[in-house]
């Protein structure tokens, strides 16, 4: 029996070792990406390895993470000190991993590599704006600040917009200016008209409830706040996002206890009761599916969309078959969460940090490599048209990494769908983003982790239904606030604000 067990185990061990056996003389570096749809990367990796062999001195292997599994895989890799993965995608929003992991010592501090490899380091510094380097500079295990990741160029700034079905709007006899003038609290008449024209099963107001809340109240996400349901609000001045809201100033507030929130839920309740909002949006399980499908079918009048530059020209929006316009709520702004939106860090357990750094530097500064990794091989995954614009072939379906998750996307050539000059205007748009006053503030929720868990539970119970108008705020909102107080909202707020004043006082 024991002999048998040991036989099985040693067999497994040998099998496992076999997979390492066929190593080349060049070391292999492995990178793990988020949210990709890649089934065949052999053609790309062949070209990549040809290209980087001399420059980086290593062979590349890629673990193409999918959206759903990345968090678990990354956590496992880092927590177990798995040296098989050298580089990983990281960011602030997915389980807040970047700041926590840097603090836990899971990431290699990169400052010294900039000096060790000046050729690569300088090329990288030239390719990325200083602000991005700043955003990746956070506290390490000893509390000193280091660069812990190479920041990609994903939405350096963000902007929330109302997604407007202009074709339908015109049919109803309104213009985008009318929508803007009437504002969120005055759309009742347009919705009523839409309902009248399109019939009873049509729901004109297609919201992502939590986003709609931020858009109406002009609040931002606080990095480090509970990720599943945000509890804290920071109010910015909608006319100038580089200032805090005059009424509140530089403080963090209980998201659900403000007058603005009460007004928002009251209005949503009105819209919901009038039948302007699909009840399926108020159920967590069906909310996203319903929204995506309605968007695809253009079965809405006004929706919410966290905007990325050029989204109106993307295939998805064009496929809706109607004219779509995105009406911004504020100017583009930069906050901590957004500035840490997509990065790649080096695992501190990596055996090849130098090669990894060289690869990352090259990827983010060399247009050939970035295009190859992102769009695939020319002639296989894409071709160039007469103007030099990228046209994807059918092969692209087997190789579709998450473009923004890879790194410096400004190096990419324009595609035919985006049009010539797209990347230039992309850069301009994001360069125009203004920093909010609390940029760089990261709430360390460790001292109040228990309260946060309890509060998030309470919020999960009430927030979505309230944000969507599915329940009556007259009765539910006070009950919600009381439950939050019972779960320790005061302690949570006090800690958050103490940290914020310490940050601002610096």
């Amino acid at each position: 029996m024991k002999r048998f067990l040991s036989l099985v185990l040693s067999l497994a061990l040998i099998l496992g070792l076999c997979s390492f056996a066929h190593a080349d003389d060049l070391p292999t570096i492995t990178i793990m990406f988020h949210g990709s749809n890649v089934t065949d990367d052999s053609a790309v990796l062949e070209k990549v390895n040809e290209y980087i062999a001399d420059k980086v001195g290593a062979k590349l292997e890629v673990i193409w993470g999918t959206w759903g599994d990345f968090d678990e895989k990354a956590t496992n890799t880092l927590a177990t000190g798995d040296s098989d993965v050298d580089m990983l995608f990281t960011c602030s929003w997915s389980a807040d991993e970047f700041n926590t992991y840097a603090k836990n010592g899971f990431f290699e501090p990169l400052d010294e590599y900039f000096e060790k490899d000046p050729e690569f380091g300088n090329a990288l510094k030239a390719a990325l704006p200083e602000a991005l380097m700043q955003a990746a500079t956070v506290e390490g295990p000893e509390g000193e600040k280091h660069i812990y990741a190479i920041n990609g160029f994903k939405d350096t700034a963000t902007q929330n917009t109302w997604d407007i079905n202009v074709t339908l709007l015109k049919e109803l006899g309104y213009t985008v200016e009318d929508v803007q003038k009437l504002g969120f609290f005055g759309w009742g008449e347009i919705f009523a008209k839409a309902k009248e024209v399109k019939g009873d099963s049509f729901y004109p107001f297609l919201v992502e409830p939590a986003v709609a809340e931020r858009m109406v109240t002009n609040t931002i996400i606080v990095t480090g706040d509970s990720g599943s349901v945000n509890l804290l609000s920071y109010y910015m001045d909608p006319t100038d996002v580089s200032k805090a809201d005059a009424k509140y100033g530089n403080v963090l507030l209980n998201k659900f206890a403000t007058d603005e929130y009460a007004a928002f839920t009251k209005q949503m309740r009105e819209y919901y009761q009038a039948g302007y909002i699909n009840p399926a949006l108020a159920v967590a399980e069906t909310s996203n599916d319903t929204r995506t499908n309605a968007q695809k079918e253009a079965a809405y009048l006004i929706g919410t969309q966290s905007y990325a530059y050029g989204y109106e020209y993307s295939a998805e929006v064009i496929a809706r078959g109607v004219e779509v316009q995105f009406l911004p709520c504020t100017e583009p702004y930069v906050d901590t969460t957004v500035s840490q939106g997509a990065m790649v860090a080096i695992n501190s357990a990596s055996q090849h940090p130098e090669e990894s750094f060289r690869f990352l530097a090259l990827l983010n500064s060399d247009p050939y490599l970035m295009t190859l990794m992102n769009y695939g091989v020319e002639g296989v995954h894409y071709t160039l048209d007469d103007e030099g614009l990228v046209v994807f072939t059918d092969e692209r379906a087997n190789y579709t990494p998450w473009t923004n998750g890879m790194g410096n996307v400004t190096l990419l050539p324009d595609t035919q769908a985006e049009g010539k000059g797209f990347r230039e205007s992309f850069k301009e748009f994001y360069a125009s983003g203004k920093a909010v006053p609390v940029l760089g503030f990261i709430f360390n929720n460790e001292p109040v982790a228990n309260e946060m868990a309890a509060l998030a539970n309470v919020a999960a119970q009430y927030a979505l239904a309230l944000d969507c108008g599915a329940v009556d705020p007259e009765t539910e909102l006070p009950a919600f606030l009381e439950a939050l107080n019972g779960a320790g909202m005061d302690a949570y707020l006090t800690e958050a604000n103490a940290q914020l004043s310490a940050f601002l006082g610096k």
């Binding site: 177990t80 967590a284 969309q305």
Partner: protein, 315 residues
């Protein structure tokens, strides 16, 4: 004293006999209750099949329904076009389940047998050794380190089989089954007749405990068939060896993740969500997953029921 005791015994026996005969009304009642229960089990499955044959258009307009507006076999056509990965995964599911079940049952059987033998000196120690792991687990991180770094379970079939080979729970079930159905006298008799340990085990004990083994095999096979978490943990690059369950789970988890983080990912989330497979496709995959294991049930059930009813010691 003795007659009185015998009397009560008779009375109880009499009552038991009459308990087995029900009135027509009671019997109809039982039939209705059990019928409803059976329907409750079958209806969700029928619903899944109906959804998998529903047209996307119908789902968009009226959602899931027993009477869809229009029917379509598009999801199935799509799965057949999905080609390699689907059939590969289907094959993997079978392979992992069969190998895993055979090995796991063998290990459980061989571990439980000495624990049942009273003449085995270290049985308490080995009893404790397996029981201990039921109460105290290492947790995810240490388990992962052991499996990946020490045992080399990564990106290979062994990673999907070895971690689930041994379950103390199954060992306890098996040991109890030995204790209740294999009389020690039988083993002693076999020994006296000159049977060696292996012959006793495989030719005398094994036939008696087949119902127990079938029970364990069913549990283990179900476990392997439904397992997807191991693939998530240990399969990084070699996506060719993932089982069907994980293929489905991955779609589901992608959809969930995008739903949760769409505000943060922004426009990219809408793009990715647009690429996700449709509702009907998911249901078609569920059908693919459920059918084989549903077919395996009746086969095992014969033994499981036999195991519950057959007594072993006669006289």
């Amino acid at each position: 004293m003795t007659t009185a005791a015998a009397g009560t015994g008779k009375k109880i026996r009499g009552r038991t006999a009459s308990l087995n005969r029900f009135g027509k009304g009671t019997q109809a009642g039982f039939h209705i209750v059990l019928g409803i229960f059976a329907l409750l089990c079958i209806i969700p499955f029928l619903f899944v099949i109906i959804i998998s044959f529903t047209s996307e258009e119908s789902i968009r307009q009226i959602g899931y329904s027993f009477h869809p507006l229009s029917w379509s076999s598009q999801a199935y056509q799509y799965t057949f076009q999905l080609g390699d990965q689907l059939w590969r995964s289907y094959f993997n599911s079978f392979l992992i389940t069969v190998i895993g079940t055979v090995l796991s049952v063998l290990i459980t059987f061989l571990y439980a047998y000495p624990l049942f033998r009273r003449d085995y000196r270290r049985r308490n120690f080995f009893n404790f050794l397996s029981f201990f792991t039921m109460i105290f687990g290492g947790g995810l991180v240490p388990t992962f380190v052991i499996c990946k770094s020490v045992l080399g379970l990564s990106d290979n079939y062994a990673a999907l089989i070895v971690p689930m080979l041994f379950s103390p729970f199954n060992v306890i079930i098996m040991r109890t089954f030995f204790q209740t159905s294999v009389p020690t006298e039988l083993i002693e008799a076999a020994t006296i007749d000159g049977s060696g340990e292996y012959r006793t085990l495989f030719q005398i004990v094994f036939p008696i405990v087949t119902p127990g083994i079938a029970t364990i095999a069913l549990l283990v096979a179900l476990g392997y068939w439904n397992e997807w978490f191991l693939s998530l943990l240990y399969i990084n690059k070699n996506m060719e060896i993932i089982p069907l369950q994980y293929l489905l789970m991955r779609m589901q988890r992608n959809a969930d993740f995008l739903a949760k983080n769409s505000a943060m990912i922004g426009a990219d989330a809408s793009k990715a969500a647009a690429q996700l497979p449709s509702q009907t496709l998911k249901m078609a995959l569920v059908v693919f997953i459920v059918v084989p294991i549903a077919c395996a049930y009746p086969f095992f059930q014969r033994y499981v029921v036999a195991g519950l009813t057959v007594g072993s010691v006669k006289g």
